[in-house]
Amino acid sequence: MKNMKGDKLFIILFLAPAVLITSVFMYVPFFENFIQSFYKTDGFFNSTFVGWDNYKRLFADEIAKKATLNSLQLMLYVAIFQVGIALILAVMVDSIKVGAGFFRTTFFFPVVISGAAIGLLFTLIYNYRNGLLNEILISLGFERVLWLTEQSSLYMVAIPTIWSYVGFYFVIFLTAIGKIPQDFYEAAQLEGVTGFQKLTKITIPLIVSDIKVCLILAITGALKIFELVYIITRGGPARSSEVLGTYMYQKAFVDANVGYGATLAVLMVVIGLTLAIVTNKLLKSEDVTY
């Protein structure tokens, strides 16, 4: 009994720095942000308590609705393509005998490039008059194409968003697949299981918990998408690629309406938490041990 008391003391003491740091840098700012959402404030000198006004405005704000829908749409693309492509690439790289190291490095490479640099890169690729894509089209004798339109802009920002983080999930999957004992595959081979069946009957069921983690990371991470959209389209044209991150930035820092920006931030946290919980519940499964 005495020993248990001592352990508790150690647990509290060792957890204290983490709790302290998380509180100071996360919970306190979030609480401050929540408080600011009840003010009409520029965050510095002008501040008036407005009660629920910012929330009422949020529900009537067409741009906020559009930004939320765009964020959810990006989330879907990210969940399907980022995780899906990463899984396919991991299975393919795991199956090759030579050059796996090269592919591992190549696929992971975009993860280490900053979002700002990737944004600039794609701005230059999509540029109408002097961009890479149009230069290629011109050299092949075709007309220039306007790549960033109201109809296409969201897809065009989804491409670099997906590409830039595929490598991250690829490495997770590759590690997970590498941990599956070879005996399983050898036994399956003796039973006459084919290549595709190996994937669906052995590999995927055994890494399902990793897939779950990647999906949650991808879905919640999609809410944080900001710099690529901001640099490539700044939410345009005509708000067609506006996401919650860019809209919140505009309100808080460009429009000096920190109060409403804080309200949008609260919405982002609520959506993020809800989706994380829902995804967790939907993908709940027994952990596989081997």
Binding site: N127, R129, P237, A238
Partner: protein
């Protein structure tokens, strides 16, 4: 017993580490709450040794050519005033980061002694909080020799908080060579402006290089063109029909092929770059654009014209003024150890010689004295401003940032036909 003692020792050690970490965190609070006292003591020590540290924040940084001249002036001042050390924390005015920096500095008791900043809606909070001094009634401040730009800085409360440095104008930059090459008349009237759009739209040359998403100058000039200075100067809350007409004219001209195809996604710098690469014949910009035009080597081909007027009003009316000035922080002025050096530096930077040198870097119009030996095209701009029948500040200097952002970012929707000028105006007015 030994084990228990060792465990207690570990706990004590851990607690000490935690205490050190917490006291380090707490130090921030202590320093902020006792900041004035500490700073006063520090200043007193500095004063004993004859040392004074001054901080200045300006927008003369990045690609702004005045940044280099400011650095020279700072060095000259330091050399002439032994013991004065100046930290220059200037930041570029692009992307609005300077606004965040200035607001953060002033609200965290870390304000600069001198600041060259926007004397517009941006400075309202700082002025209302009494964070900067009334220059006219402050001892030692020399405001002599200023031209009419000083008066333009007068606040609604009747006081002058900012001393101007240069004036600016916004107008239509025209590549005369391209007009000549294509046999098109210069856009001196609204009809000729529309004719030029029509004619250039038939060629590879973009008629007017603008960004409709980042459409500061487009919005201002089209509203000015729609009805002249009187409606232009009205308040947003008036929801003047001329403003709506001006916004709709942008849509009309976009359909005529006036703007780049990707105008809704390029930014101001990219639009200006199209003009500087002679891929566009006209550019709506401010007088600071001369820097990049000269750098591109096309300045000999370029002249500047006032935006033509569509529905009456005198052509020659300009968007312009002097929206930036030098502020002195109240904190620095009330600090006995910093006051003299701060005032001295202010008088030095706002002396006629300094102002003319700073203005010379970009060819802007100085608030004191006159620039001489100007190149003809830059001189045209100076004449334009001198002869202007009416000048008023840009719209974004007069209305809330949120309302203006809504107006300018809605321009692509006006262009696509999703919204009318009136709709956008009503929505923007509701945000004020």
């Amino acid at each position: 017993m030994k084990k228990k003692f060792r465990r207690l020792g570990s706990v004590a050690l851990f607690m000490s580490i935690l205490l050190v970490v917490m006291s380090a965190c707490g130090a921030g609070d202590k320093s902020s709450s006792e900041a004035p006292k500490e700073s006063a003591n520090k200043s007193a020590d500095e004063s004993d040794k004859g040392n004074v540290d001054l901080k200045i924040v300006t927008t003369m940084a990045g690609t702004d050519p005045t940044g280099a001249v400011l650095e020279e002036l700072v060095k000259e001042f330091e050399a002439a005033n032994e013991g004065v050390k100046i930290t220059n924390e200037s930041q570029t005015a692009d992307a609005g980061t300077i606004r965040t920096k200035v607001n953060t500095d002033f609200s965290s008791d870390n304000e600069p002694e001198l600041m060259f900043y926007f004397n517009t809606v941006d400075a309202e909070g700082i002025i209302k909080e009494g964070k900067v001094i009334d220059l006219e009634n402050a001892e030692g401040i020399d405001l002599s020799g200023y031209n009419s730009m000083l008066e333009q800085q007068r606040n609604a409360d009747g006081k002058i908080y900012a001393a101007p440095q240069t004036g600016f104008y916004e107008a239509l930059f025209v590549n005369e060579s391209l007009f000549k090459e294509h046999g098109i008349e210069l856009p001196t009237t609204w009809e000729l402006y529309e004719k030029a759009i029509e004619e250039f739209a038939k060629t590879d040359i973009i008629p007017v290089a603008v960004s409709t998403e980042d459409s500061y100058y487009v919005v201002e000039h089209y509203i000015l063109a729609a009805g002249g200075m009187e409606p232009y100067s009205s308040a947003l809350s008036d929801k003047n029909a001329v403003w709506a007409e001006g916004l709709d004219l942008i849509g009309k001209h976009a359909k005529m092929g006036a703007f780049p195809k990707d105008a809704a996604t390029i930014d101001l710098a990219m639009a200006a770059s199209l003009f500087n690469q002679e891929q566009a014949a006209m550019l709506l910009e401010g007088s600071w654009a001369w820097g990049a035009i000269k750098e591109a080597g096309i300045d000999k081909n370029v002249t500047v014209l006032p935006m033509p007027n569509k529905n009456g009003g005198e052509t020659g009316e300009l968007v312009g003024g002097a929206s930036q000035g030098w502020f002195i922080s109240t904190k620095a002025f009330n600090d006995d150890n910093k006051r003299d050096a701060t005032v001295k530096l202010f008088n030095f930077l706002t002396s006629e010689e300094s102002i003319v040198r700073l203005a010379g870097a970009t060819g802007q119009i100085p608030a004191k004295g006159e620039l001489t030996d100007l190149e003809p095209n830059i001189a045209v701009g100076h004449k334009l401003l001198k002869d202007a029948p009416a000048i008023d500040a840009p719209i974004n200097d007069r209305i809330t940032p949120e309302a203006f952002t809504h107006m300018r970012t809605s321009v692509p929707e006006i262009v696509s036909g999703a919204k009318t000028g009136k709709q956008v105006l009503d929505e923007a007015a509701a945000m004020e």
